[in-house]
Assembly symmetry: C2
Homo-oligomer: 352 residues x 2
DNA sequence: GCGTCCATCTGTATCGATTAAGAAAGGGGT
DNA sequence: ACCCCTTTCTTAATCGATACAGATGGACGC
């Protein structure tokens, strides 16, 4: 027997087989209340018999306008993006809530090349959660015109977002240190790509190279600065956003004449490395020098790191909800943060 | 002025505006060689003028049958899946090569509920890289019938795959230890979900609970067993696949009467934790007890861990290539592995 | 001068479903 | 008996592009 020519079994095939219209078959799949249970069972039976895998995804997408996919836009390489615990926790929350809508998450890079721009524009997504700090703005605008809902992870005037108030969060941290008597403070900022450690003294009118204008780094720097005496703030930009990068940045921050009495890392991973650096110099965190982090990752508790807690997973969950549910009433969500004080901060040591 | 009614600007609109046929507009986008550069520029200019965001993704997908999306199927929760460095490295490689095809990666959970099954079936993907150890077989079969190319990350008789020879890799490790004089060996296996540490003595005819039949864990166990005397192999199943889980499993493996002289962890992260446990007991890895890992993560070098290196990123890259390029000739790829011997293994201590 | 060929464009039949609107059949109420 | 409602199914019009088979016109060879 000659093998039958590849029979493309479609909804029509099924309909003819059962002796009903395609509309009824369609209803059997997507609106079971529109037909009798009997007939539906019959159709489903015939479907498995024919090996019909269910409605074609593309046909469905074209007609209904839905893909059941939520894009997640991040900047930098995937290996960088996901070696960051913050990203993983956020992504877990995001995908958890996206899954509740029967949808999945598509990983999207902020485009840098022509090909990546294409990939972003060709992405079959209903919504996009843009975690990207910067740029890729035109690309996102094009997507919006395509009807893609955009959700940002940072406050902005218009559009949907879920975020925290970065400046005031940073002020919380700074105030804590100032109350403890600290005056000379260094902020260590992460970098998205690998680079050299660099250092500046902060002035709000002069942007820090590599720190974009509306970025959370910049907002936090500003917040810290507002709580300090003028010219008291130095900035060290780490070579990445890893514990190792934190160690290196810590070295740079500590091995100076006029050693700071406190270091604020804009991420916990950096802070962990800074703690390493502090201990490697025989200093005791919280006594000889204070260290603060941001995010309050689980390990912060283990290491006794004072950190500004933000509900990362919840942020991801809410982002997913805004993305997948256009009718969710609250479209701009500001999450509460909380300073968790642990052993790594203490009174500033008396000047030597 | 009343705001114009939402004009859905489609390819037809654009065509009429420029005074050409839709076919030409389509060509302007997807096959620039089919028309004069002049006309193409004209069309593109009109496109930006009208705010046309390019061909509709759904229309394109339906007609051309392409989505430019590659699914990545993993088991367990996303937070578990991506707290594993192996997964991140693999995913980087995968997405790197997938991006070269102008495509993106869709995160897909091995379905456990009805909703997740739906999400998997509704996924707009051209191909699926199935990293999932087990089950979800029916779901994958349905996808195959949909025309989705399946790529596995483990050898199998039929279909596309890229993997390593797990049994022989495991034998490499075991032989290394046997030559060093080790006789009492424990293998520590990871678990996909959090659970309790448990322990058995291994016999090839009796499956280890929680270790699926064709899984790499099982294949490796088998390989190790083949190099040892009968009944010399114990198995400890860790409570997860993290350094902490490794510490706990290490405790279980070490704190016994007849302490093993060597421990093989089936993943490096577990091995790291086991090293911690060894040191916590005042023992010196490589002298008092030997420890081996699998994967050879970057940190293995730092910690002096003997480990079986497999080219994880390359595996991901090749999987992506097989997934996105149906014409790639080599459809079943066995990658070479290599035992990297470091300080954590040494001669078995003389029997006390 | 004539046939050929190439470079450019057009016409039109799909791709595979969804959905609103309508028809047919049965069931009650009065 | 008649009318009105439901329930259950069908008809037919899209959704927005792609790709094949042609049509057109000018350049070119001989």
């Amino acid at each position: 027997m000659v093998p039958a020519a590849e029979a493309p079994v479609t909804m029509k095939t099924l309909a003819e087989r059962v002796g009903v219209s395609v509309a009824t078959v369609s209803n059997a799949y997507s609106r079971p209340d529109q037909l009798s249970a009997d007939l539906r069972d019959q159709i489903m039976a015939a479907a498995t018999e024919l090996g019909y895998p269910g409605p074609s995804v593309a046909g469905r997408a074209l007609r209904s306008g839905r893909n059941d996919v939520c894009g997640f836009l991040f900047s930098g390489e995937i290996s960088h993006a996901f070696s960051d615990p913050y990203a993983i926790i956020f992504l877990s929350g995001l995908s958890e809530s996206v899954e509740q809508f029967g949808a999945s998450v598509l990983l999207l890079k902020a485009p840098t090349t022509e090909g990546e721009t294409q990939a972003l524009q060709r992405a079959p997504i209903d919504a996009l959660v843009a975690n990207s700090t910067v740029s890729s703005q035109e690309g996102v605008d094009l997507l919006r015109r395509r009807g893609v809902r955009i959700v940002r992870t940072r406050p902005s005037d218009a559009g949907d977002w879920v975020g925290i108030n970065d400046p005031s969060a940073a002020r919380l941290v700074a105030r804590h240190l100032v109350r403890l008597g600290h005056r000379r403070i260094v902020v260590v900022t992460p970098a998205t790509a690998n680079g050299r450690v660099r250092e500046w003294s902060y002035r709000p009118d002069r942007p820090v190279p590599g720190v974009a204008d509306g970025s959370y780094e910049n907002l936090r720097l500003r917040g810290v600065w507002e709580e300090l005496e003028p010219d008291a703030l130095r900035v060290v930009r780490a070579g990445g956003n890893t514990r190792e990068a934190g160690r290196a940045a810590g070295a740079r921050a500590l091995d100076v004449q006029d050693r700071p009495t406190a270091v604020i890392a804009l991420s916990d991973v950096l802070a962990f490395g800074i703690l390493d650096a502090v201990r490697a110099r025989g200093l005791e965190p919280g006594r000889d020098i204070s260290v603060c982090g941001f995010d309050d990752l689980p390990e912060a508790d283990f290491l006794g790191l004072t950190s500004l807690r933000q509900p990362i997973a919840e942020k991801g969950r809410l982002a997913g909800r805004l993305a997948m549910d256009p009718d969710y009433p609250q479209r701009q969500i500001n999450l509460a943060v909380q300073l968790v004080v642990r052993a790594s901060t203490g009174p500033a040591p008396a000047d030597r």
